[in-house]
Symmetry: C2
Subunit: 450 residues, 2 copies
């Protein structure tokens, strides 16, 4: 039996941001199901014992890839039915406060789910208690790593005790600032890039209404697209909303007084002020500073048959496609398939994962960057609406042939790189059709002139 150590620790830098998902806990369940012994080391304390800090816990958009991964360990239904709030459409807020909605999937009414990070993590950790072969260690900080021989040294941050552990396989699921990846960087021929966008994000909150219900229609992802910046809101189970403002850092900097802040919101998000509450808006806005958003691309993801990185550690993306967690969870599904295919032969599993997965993670990374422009700007434009209507119509006409980009990414498990290729093909077809129609019109005009 193989002993695997799934790491899930964090560098100090990482603690500041909320985009950390428990890909490690899910992978532990998958390995445990296959009968492997798993030790899960985590830098922070057990999330189930931590009081949830409102306004700092981003909720997540769970879509098909994430659902399938949860299904593989028998948790899909529980997650969706007990803790998920379906979002069936984008609801766009205009400057004047009026709204209109754009369904994600007009054809079959599929939806994405808003889930609380803490709920999800709690569920995964609770599930692991059913397995005798999973051990969990909280408050363990990684201080030394030897990827080649599979040894790790941790310090218990509470007792200050130091332990060295040895594993057949080290899996680093330790987020965008991964310590395991830092070790991998010392290997020759390791390609790596980290790129920050010029925009940061800041979280606000719309509390439940006076009737303890939602203050906005709940089954939507609300968007206030404003060209160079945008605000979004996702529903929480307690009927509050997590509101996130995405904006260039320099614009954040310019909002340096309560007056400027209120002026800014009255100009761009007037309908949100009574929902958030003026006092709460001022309090929450100036309580923290905007957080950065980073894209990480790297390859390979493994060192021989000894170490592997997955999730954000391998491919952190900006959050605008709602695919960060879903892509991380999909890693677990794919790895499980490879474990079956290669009959637990680690060298083959890791090699195949490394050489095939990067094309898809690079693709979703680029798509996520593109989707920010779509969400904050394009979504408002007639050309975008026309294309979406056309895509939806063709999708309705030929559901197996014409899957629009968003739908293929969100509601199928088609490889991300294939989604991009599909879109390129669709663009070509549309261009040719338009050319053909123009030609027909032209011939018709000439013909009727005679």
């Amino acid at each position: 039996m193989m002993e695997a150590e799934t790491e899930d620790f964090f560098t100090e830098q990482n603690v500041i941001d909320g985009f950390v998902f428990q890909v490690g806990s899910l992978e532990a369940l998958y390995l445990a199901q296959r009968g492997h012994r798993v030790s899960l080391y985590e830098y922070r304390e057990d999330i189930r014992k931590t009081p949830q800090v409102r306004g700092r816990s981003i909720n997540l958009a769970l879509s098909v890839r994430g659902r399938q991964a949860l299904k593989g360990v028998g948790l899909e239904d529980q997650m969706i039915h007990e803790h998920g709030i379906p979002m069936r459409a984008r609801m766009i807020h205009r400057l004047d406060g009026s709204t209109y909605s754009m369904p994600y999937d007009a054809r079959t009414n599929q939806c994405i789910y808003s889930v609380g990070r803490n709920y999800l993590n709690g569920l995964l950790l609770k599930e692991s208690e059913k397995y005798d072969n999973v051990q969990k260690f909280f408050n363990y900080k990684l201080i030394q790593t030897n990827l080649k021989n599979g040894s790790l040294t941790f310090t218990n941050t509470a007792t200050k005790e130091t332990v060295e552990v040895n594993a057949d396989l080290i899996i680093g699921a330790d987020g965008a600032f991964s310590a395991v990846r830092k070790e991998m960087m010392k290997q020759p021929l390791f390609n790596f890039s980290q790129e920050y966008i010029e925009h940061g994000y800041l979280e606000l909150c719309i509390p439940p209404g006076s009737d303890d219900g939602f203050q906005m229609p709940p089954n939507y992802l609300h968007i206030w697209p404003r060209g160079q910046f945008m605000m979004i809101a996702l529903p929480n189970q307690d009927c509050s909303w997590t509101v996130t403002l995405f904006m260039p850092f320099k614009n954040f900097k310019n909002i340096n007084s309560e007056e400027v802040l209120i002026d800014f919101f009255e100009k761009y998000f007037p309908d949100s002020i009574p929902l958030i509450g003026k006092k709460k808006l001022i309090e929450d806005f100036f309580a923290g500073s905007p957080s950065p958003l980073v894209t990480v691309k790297c390859r390979p993801y493994h060192v021989k048959d000894k170490a592997l990185i997955i999730g954000d550690a391998a491919h952190a993306v900006v959050p605008f496609y709602g695919q960060g967690m879903n892509a991380g969870f999909e890693d677990c599904t794919l790895l499980d398939e490879l474990f079956k295919k290669h009959n637990d032969h680690l060298a083959s599993i890791l090699e195949e994962f490394s050489t095939t997965r990067w094309r898809d993670t690079f693709a979703i990374s680029d798509l996520a960057m593109y989707n920010y422009i779509e969400m904050r700007d394009l979504v408002n434009r007639p050309s975008y609406k026309l294309r979406k209507a056309l895509d939806d119509f063709l999708f309705w006409l030929m559901p197996d042939t014409w899957v629009p980009l968003y739908n293929s990414v969100t509601f199928t498990s088609m490889p991300y790189s294939q989604c991009v290729k599909n879109r390129t093909w669709q663009n070509k077809v549309l261009a040719m059709v338009i050319l053909f129609v123009c030609l027909l019109v032209f011939l018709f005009l000439i013909y009727t002139r005679k």
Copy 2:
């Protein structure tokens, strides 16, 4: 008076490769000229005391940017006249051993210079002895860095003694695997990428002939372009040639016996075998393993008014445009201009260098990658030769307006990004001219038909 520490140390990884230039020594001279106190720390021992290892010391191609930088400290003439071998053209070796040449600058006969790395470094270090305000420390390994307060801790590798030094400004000129840059990476919003190409390089040597002279015409950069791989040779002052084979790692791997090696050379580089010597070829080829080639892009280059990276530490490029050292030396020229412009006010100097320089280093980085394809493949094609002939003709006709890409990069100090823009403009003009000529021919044909 400001005290500056110019660092020039290396991580262990770095020792393996030969693409390390003494940008630090040059910058030290520039700072000393302006009256600053400079301490130069170097991980290795004084290069003047190290015996030159033949076959592992890449010679460098010095072009206008590097020359101008040397001129600024009064070393251009000495370098070129005493140690430089002019190369006025590429000499292309065909499969059958026949050759033809392509001048770099048919119009004014400008040339690039092959210079020995050791000669160049020795010259820079010797020059620094003229300055009382430059102190040099060899065999010092950096073990701790605090960029914000300008402190560095070194261990003397000989005496094992540890020293802490404080500086007004830390300059990391410590190569592609820079330790100073690694510290910078801990800053928020630091963008970074390292990308290895799938090709490696291996150095061979053509010794002087039996008459102690050159075995090939010396005033050329010799190229054996073979599509997916290539070999080049640069002349040395002792009448030997440094020969470098660039090839995908997997091809290197396939050459696993003396027989295969000789077969390979007989097939692709037959004329080089008698020059290198069969015995020496086998010896040198199997003595080492191919080295990797990396591109590093990052930004910003500074931390407040306390730390800066220059040269390969800031922008390592693949060697195919012969601009790695030249770009590093150009950093020194540009910094000197900024020191004058901002009257030694560090915060302004570093800020302006960071916000302006990256566009040009990113441009030369992409150009260097492109030039590999040109050198190993395109150079052989009729379309390339036609374009070069056309470029040369237009350059001769309009020397101020139509500077071909290679010439603007190599023989001017036009910002690299401007060279690229120029080329894009030239491509557009040529496309329009071709379209116009086609139209004329078409009209002429119609007219003569009547």
